[in-house]
């Protein structure tokens, strides 16, 4: 157990193992994403009230779900780097931010496009949408704050604190559809009790959610590898790796 944590803290080991994970996970993810999109776009019946516009659900919901899950990863990595000063946790935190920002952006934009034919408007200052916008600003804030410091150790610490303070937003996003009932509909998929979505629509949606989780993992690992190379550029193993 402890030796595993020691290995996790070792940049060359992490670089090697993430490379061998990405070699099969990345192609698999891309295949699953394409399959899920084709399934959702062409092989499901339209929603009886929303018609075909509902097909946006197959990217909107997965992007939003994983954008939120990504924030947990970033917050945990931030906490670990603050408490145990683990360098690789800091790398993971920094690598999360652009991935989370991209997914939150997708959730907001596809939501706006879906809103036009369904609600008759691109945007409302609904609680769910506004709290997702704050999530986007939190992700962008971490990126900007990291770049603002010359001293990367101080940058990591400041970002970790910002990330941890920002976790306040997460339960607000989850509960917003129940607390302030407005245009955005409540959750259709429930872990306990019956989901209010037909199985023929649920299965492609679950495939897409799984694919987006895999995509998050791939993008996170790729960003981490880039950051590891950058930080370790003076060490022997990187010199051997670049093959000079």
């Amino acid at each position: 157990m402890w030796s595993f944590f020691h290995k996790l803290g070792s940049p060359p080991w992490l670089y090697r193992i993430s490379g061998s994970i990405l070699r099969w996970l990345l192609p698999l993810t891309l295949i699953a994403l394409c399959a899920g999109a084709v399934w959702g776009l062409f092989y499901t019946a339209p929603d009886f009230r929303q018609g075909n516009s509902y097909r946006i659900i197959y990217i909107h919901v997965p992007a939003a779900v994983v954008a939120l899950a990504g924030y947990y990863v970033m917050a945990i990595a931030g906490a670990v780097s603050l408490i145990w000063k683990m360098k690789m946790a800091d790398v993971a935190m920094k690598a999360c931010a652009p991935v989370g920002a991209a997914l939150t952006f997708i959730a907001l934009v596809t939501g706006a496009i879906w809103g036009k034919p369904t609600w008759g408007t691109w945007w409302v200052w609904d609680a769910r949408i506004t709290s997702m916008l704050i999530l986007l600003f939190l992700y962008l804030g971490v990126i900007a704050l990291y770049e603002a410091f010359d001293n990367k150790e101080a940058a990591g610490k400041a970002c970790a604190v910002l990330t941890l303070v920002g976790t306040v937003n997460i339960p607000i996003i989850y509960k917003s559809v129940d607390w302030w009932y407005s245009l955005h509909q409540p959750a259709s998929i429930k872990f306990t009790g019956e989901s209010s979505i037909d199985p023929s629509m649920l299965y492609p949606l679950l495939l897409m959610i799984g694919s987006f989780y895999a995509l998050f993992t791939c993008a996170l690992l790729m960003n981490m590898r880039l950051e590891i190379l950058r930080r370790e550029s003076r060490t022997g193993w990187v010199r051997k790796l670049v093959g000079a």
Partner: protein, 68 residues
């Protein structure tokens, strides 16, 4: 397949522009997300290799100069 023809699939009974725009934007963002670290790490590795080669050449010339 739910749609009768490719044309019907593109039109999606009037919702086509919305659905396709959403999927297109998502595809562009996700591709950028995956390609950006690949391109940046390729550039970084090239720069590092160049830097090491320059330093080795400089060291080699230094040895040569001190030997003569």
């Amino acid at each position: 397949m739910y749609f009768d023809s490719l044309h019907a699939a593109l039109a999606m009974e009037g919702h086509g522009p919305f659905v396709w725009a959403a999927y297109a934007i998502t595809a562009v963002v996700l591709l950028t997300l995956l390609l950006s670290p690949v391109l940046r790490s390729r550039r970084l590795r090239r720069d590092l290799a160049g830097e090491i080669r320059r330093r080795e050449t400089a060291a080699g010339e230094g040895r040569h100069a001190s030997g003569t």
